[in-house]
């Protein structure tokens, strides 16, 4: 049996499965952290316009943001509600979670002139807003 020895070793490996999976989990966590850090972005331009957005218990304020077309800008969304919210937009390809009390940045643009919808993933019926690029 040319596979005999490997088979025995494998049985032993299988017995240690939970421990090995835990080790695997830790190394994965390390790999993820390393990759995240090594992907450090090129410095985000500090001079881009910033638009503030507040999300609170399923409502966005303001629910209409007017931005200039053709330039990069940033939305800073603060969650004043009691639960988490996710800014999501299929038009803009963005999804970003904010926990209660947290402010998160969403980098956008340059956009063509037009209207782009966004909504709150955790309150899809009430949390709706639009960005109009002029």
């Amino acid at each position: 049996m040319r596979h005999g020895r490997t088979s025995q070793a494998d049985t032993l490996l299988n017995k240690l499965a939970p421990a090995r999976v835990a080790i695997l989990g830790l190394s994965l966590l390390g790999a993820t952290a390393w990759l995240t850090l090594s992907l450090m972005p090129v410095a985000v331009a500090a001079d881009m316009p910033v638009y503030n957005l507040i999300t609170k218990d399923g409502l966005f304020t303001p629910d209409l943001l007017e931005v200039p077309a053709g330039i990069k800008f940033k939305i800073v969304m603060k969650n004043d509600g009691s639960g988490p919210e996710e800014f999501e937009s299929s038009d803009l390809h963005r999804e970003k979670v904010a926990t209660p009390g947290q402010s998160v940045s969403i980098l956008l643009g340059p956009l063509k002139t037009g209207t782009y919808g966004f909504y709150g993933e955790f309150h899809p019926e009430t949390a709706k807003g639009k960005i109009v690029a002029k």
């Binding site: 049996m1 049985t11 090995r20 989990g25 994965l28 790999a31 995240t36 988490p84 299929s90």
Partner: protein, 280 residues
């Protein structure tokens, strides 16, 4: 209660489908329940940690930590899925050549589960952390119907897991001769879809150009947020308005894995019973 169920269902769906594919891909492997169960458990533990440190992750790397974290997880999963497929391409032939059942089982038993277990763990971690955040939010809000909403959450969880189970049972109906080939293709498509999602997160962090804001728009035909859209998004990487860079990542991953599998598969075996494996 229903809206809670729907939200949790959506989040659970992707992880459940991945577990379903992994279950089908590891059919016949000794102690796979233990392996996959451990992967899910580690993923859930990780999801709790990620949910608890959501604030710190979001604030890291100039506020783009969430995007880079998601992209990193997806890229690592893509590498592991590709690795698994290349290994299978190399040893699948050996598997087919073993004429007796015992020999076949031994070779099958040596299949590397680490990669697939890790992918299960990563999928549960990524989707699970959002479920944890969402359910935590409900608990923190301390509304009257907390119990009802948790019941909704559980319903969503069970429905999502049910979809994964359906996929697994469906795949089991594929004759075992073809199952090998089918799971290889599914895993390749899954990896390509994940690579395209990772590209999306890197664009969001302003680290990659879009190349084209949307190559096509099928959102009126098949919205990505519909149930079928979501299923196809996970299984084959469907996007209703894909950015150019996403399509590029998709094609490169698909072609890359297919080429690596071909390059490492060795000399084709002419026998008709082995032809299926040879085509992988």
């Amino acid at each position: 209660m229903l809206s809670t169920a729907i939200i949790v269902f959506r989040e659970v769906l992707e992880a459940a489908l991945i577990v379903g594919i992994v279950l089908a891909a590891s059919e016949g492997l000794a102690r796979r329940g233990l392996w996959i169960g451990s992967g899910i458990a580690v993923g859930l533990g990780g999801a709790l940690v990620v949910a608890l440190s959501a604030g710190a992750i979001a604030a890291a790397v100039s506020g783009m930590g969430q995007e880079l974290f998601n992209a990193s997880i997806l890229i690592i999963a893509v590498i592991m899925l590709g690795w698994h497929n290349v290994w299978m391409g190399r040893h699948g032939r050996e598997l087919a050549r073993e004429m007796n059942t015992v020999g076949r089982d031994v070779v099958a038993g040596n299949r590397p589960m680490y990669m697939l277990v890790a992918v299960v763990g990563l999928a549960v971690l990524r989707e699970g952390s959002e479920v944890v955040l969402f359910l935590y939010g409900i608990a923190a809000a301390q509304q009257e119907q907390v119990g009802l909403m948790f019941a909704g959450g559980m319903l969503g969880l069970v429905l999502g897991a049910g979809m994964g189970l359906l996929l697994y049972l469906g795949m089991l109906r594929i004759p075992s001769k073809y199952l090998f080939n089918a799971t290889s293709w599914l895993i390749t498509l899954l990896a390509a879809g994940m690579a395209s999602q990772a590209a999306g997160f890197l664009v969001q962090a302003d680290m990659l150009p879009t190349l084209a804001p949307s190559l096509w728009d099928t959102s009126s035909l098949l919205p990505q947020k519909s149930l079928l859209g979501r299923l196809l998004q996970t299984l084959v990487g469907y996007t209703d308005r894909p950015m150019g860079i996403q399509v590029l990542f998709y094609i490169v991953t698909l072609g890359g894995i297919a080429m690596l599998m071909r390059a490492y598969s060795g000399v084709p075996v002419g026998k008709s019973t082995n032809a299926v494996t040879a085509e992988i």
